[in-house]
């Protein structure tokens, strides 16, 4: 089982690869030779898909119905793991709550920031280019351990944030040590990495025809009206895309919480992300079957959110063609 959400990995990989396979099959229907050639070309992907994705997924699905401590033989327990998770494990439900808050706050926030920055930096001046690069930098550094460590230093009790606050006479606290603020620092870290959605929005803003923008100027729309009535609706397919992608990654967030809480999810479980709890159960408490049941529930949660987003998109996303 992968810590970073093996289930969702399988979804995205399968989605990308499937058309490739069906195309290969369709073209090769004429002769055996074509079939063979197609198989040869497909083998690397098939091997990867079967060995690294399909088999582990099937394995984890089966093991999620067992008690398995990595050392002894798995013992079949039926749906007991799922029942316990959904009804009796308060810590699990808490981790679900923490993660949901994290997703619901950080995703809209980061997508909004990305959109605003992209629209304001859409000019092609040299200065705008420079700032685009600067704003994209955090996304390159990404959710790495180093950034997690850096964040700890920034928001620790003797960190830079408090030093700056001290200059203004305000007294800070240990932001990551205080259960009231620890999750907020993680949300901030996520929002800070708005570069990837920003780049996608930038491409979208550039796609809006110049004459359409000029038509709004002639029609008397001010920049705010132009943003809400023209830019926003025309970017709506990209907003949907970014929301879905950000939601998937946010549900799977692990590294920042692990680093900041020293792998505990503390203080007082305030940063106990879903995947962190999954990791603790699987690799600290050796309840691998239980952890795998969690992974499968997460896969369904992400699937449900994605399906919901696509269903709701019909009411607000405008496709041009």
């Amino acid at each position: 089982m992968r810590r970073d959400g093996g289930g969702a990995m399988a979804v995205s990989r399968g989605g990308r690869a499937w058309p490739l396979r069906s195309r290969g099959v369709g073209r090769s229907a004429s002769s055996v030779g074509d079939w063979r050639a197609a198989l040869v070309f497909l083998t690397p992907w098939l091997l990867g898909m079967v060995l690294l994705t399909a088999l582990p997924m099937i394995g984890s699905a089966v093991l999620s119905f067992t008690n398995y401590d990595l050392l002894s033989v798995p013992r079949w327990v039926g749906t007991a793991n799922y029942q316990r998770l959904l009804t009796r494990d308060a810590r699990y439900l808490h981790s679900l709550e923490v993660t949901t808050v994290y997703v619901l706050v950080s995703v809209p926030l980061s997508v909004t920031v990305a959109l605003i920055i992209a629209v304001s930096l859409s000019a092609t001046t040299r200065l705008a280019n420079f700032f685009r690069g600067v704003f994209y930098l955090p996304s390159l550094l990404g959710g790495s351990v180093a950034i997690g460590v850096l964040w700890r230093q920034l928001f620790g009790s003797d960190g830079l944030v408090n030093a700056v606050l001290g200059v203004f006479g305000a007294e800070g606290t240990s932001w990551i040590g205080d259960p009231r603020y620890a999750l907020s620092t993680l949300i901030l870290l996520h929002v800070w990495q708005f570069g990837a959605p920003m780049v996608i929005f930038l491409a979208g803003v550039r796609q809006i025809p110049k004459e359409v923008v000029e038509a709004t100027i002639m029609d008397g729309a001010n920049p705010v009206q132009r943003f809400f009535r023209i830019t926003l609706p025309l970017l709506s397919p990209l907003i949907l895309f970014n929301l879905v992608m950000q939601t998937i990654t946010a549900f799977q967030a692990f590294v920042p919480a692990y680093v900041i809480s020293d792998g505990t999810g503390g203080p007082v479980d305030s940063t106990l992300f879903y995947t962190l709890y999954l990791y603790l159960e699987g690799f600290r408490n050796f309840r691998m079957g239980y952890a795998m049941a969690m992974a499968w529930i997460l896969l369904f949660i992400i699937g449900a959110f994605t399906a919901l987003a696509f269903w709701a998109s019909r009411f607000w996303v405008h496709y041009e063609s």
Binding site: V212, A215, I217, M218, D219, G220, R229
Partner: protein, 363 residues
């Protein structure tokens, strides 16, 4: 007081001057066409009037008020773009209503104006459709409708027909002419590189070249009395033939003689000049006819014959580098390699001096 007044208007991009000192007055209700080759500055000039481009020098006045720094939407001007520039996520109705909603016009009034414009443009059945579900011609009508609902004093058209196919272009051109009749007080400025559009729609044509106005005049005036070589060559299709000639200024008149021509020298007004210079004689292809013996203006070999039914176009090699074109009526029995002699009535000839300016006619 003119609806639009341009006085010494200039525009540069960096060190490149794209509009150099243009003076022009456009009366209310006039249909003026800016015409010229690509890059002549016609679209830039239109966009300067719209307010989409800044004005680097001179003044633009609208109804007598200096408008250089007035925001585009406050100039009382509507614009129809080449690409239609419809809002793709809005229905036809919403596209038409957009500017009025922005201006907080009340709902009943918006509805009245939108339906009025839709009726005028036969768009009523499509009001709930999105632009992508419309044909090119319908989209262009929506773009025009957007201008109508605003009840703007001035309509600007930026090559509105160039994205349409030939048949639709003719039909839409006629619709624009009808629209002008229904809105007699609306001033319209229309940019095109298509001289047929210019000739058929315009009250006055402004011929632009290299950021300068070459000539302003009624369509027939430009055709019959081009001010210079550029206008003579630009207006008319196929273009006017130019033959090198000698100009001898003799007091009040100038004698024009083409080397090797049998036709006797033609007299033009000299404009008070004296001496002699090299010049250009212009003759339109449709003015040429088969010469009688001893009176040929041009003699040469037929290079190509185009039979178009109502006319026959001859390409005649007369040793001038460029073939001379002759547009003869009906089907004519000519073949490649035939020797032909062409001449034209002296009243159909144009003479231009060395700097390209037309010489006045005598009488």
């Amino acid at each position: 007081m003119s609806a639009i007044g341009l006085k010494d208007v200039r525009k540069s991009y960096g060190s490149v001057e794209v509009i150099s000192s243009i003076d022009l007055d456009i009366e209310q209700g006039e249909f003026v066409v800016f015409v010229g080759p690509s890059g002549c500055g016609k679209s830039t000039l239109l966009r300067m009037i719209a307010g989409l481009e800044g004005i680097d020098g001179g003044t633009l006045s609208i109804d007598g008020v200096v408008a250089n720094d007035i925001a585009p939407a406050r100039r009382g001007i509507a614009m129809v773009f080449q690409s239609y520039a419809l809002y793709p996520h809005m229905s036809v109705y919403e596209n038409l209503a957009f500017s009025l909603r922005i201006a907080h016009v009340d709902k009943a009034e918006i509805d009245r104006r939108v339906r009025n414009a839709a009726a005028m443009l036969q768009l009523e059945p499509y009001l709930s459709r999105r632009p992508r579900a419309l044909s090119g011609g319908q989209r262009q009508r929506v773009a025009i409708g957007r201008a109508i609902v605003r009840e703007a004093k001035v309509f600007l058209f930026d090559e509105p027909l160039s994205n349409l196919d030939a048949a639709l272009r003719v039909a839409t051109r006629i619709e624009i002419a009808k629209l002008k009749e229904r809105l007699p007080d609306t001033t319209m400025i229309y940019v095109t590189h298509d001289q047929v559009e210019a000739m058929t729609l315009a009250d006055r044509i402004v011929v632009l070249n290299g950021g300068n106005v070459e000539q302003v005049g009624r369509p027939v005036e430009l055709y019959e009395s081009p001010a210079n070589l550029f206008v003579a060559g630009f207006i008319g299709s196929p273009a006017m033939n130019f033959l090198p000639c000698r100009l001898e200024h003799q007091g009040e008149r100038t004698l024009v003689q083409i080397d090797g021509a049998e036709q006797t020298a033609i007299a033009f007004g000299s404009g008070g000049r004296s001496g002699a210079e090299a010049g250009t004689l212009g003759v339109r292809p449709e003015s040429l006819h088969i010469a009688e013996a001893g009176a040929a203006l041009i003699t040469g070999m037929v290079e190509l014959v185009e039979h178009l039914g109502e006319v026959t176009i001859l390409y005649v090699a007369a040793g001038l580098g460029q073939p001379v074109l002759a547009k003869l009526s009906k089907t004519q029995d000519f073949a490649k390699g035939d020797r032909v002699s062409l001449s034209a009535a002296s009243t159909d000839l144009y003479a231009f001096d060395a700097s390209g300016d037309a010489l006045p006619r005598l009488g």
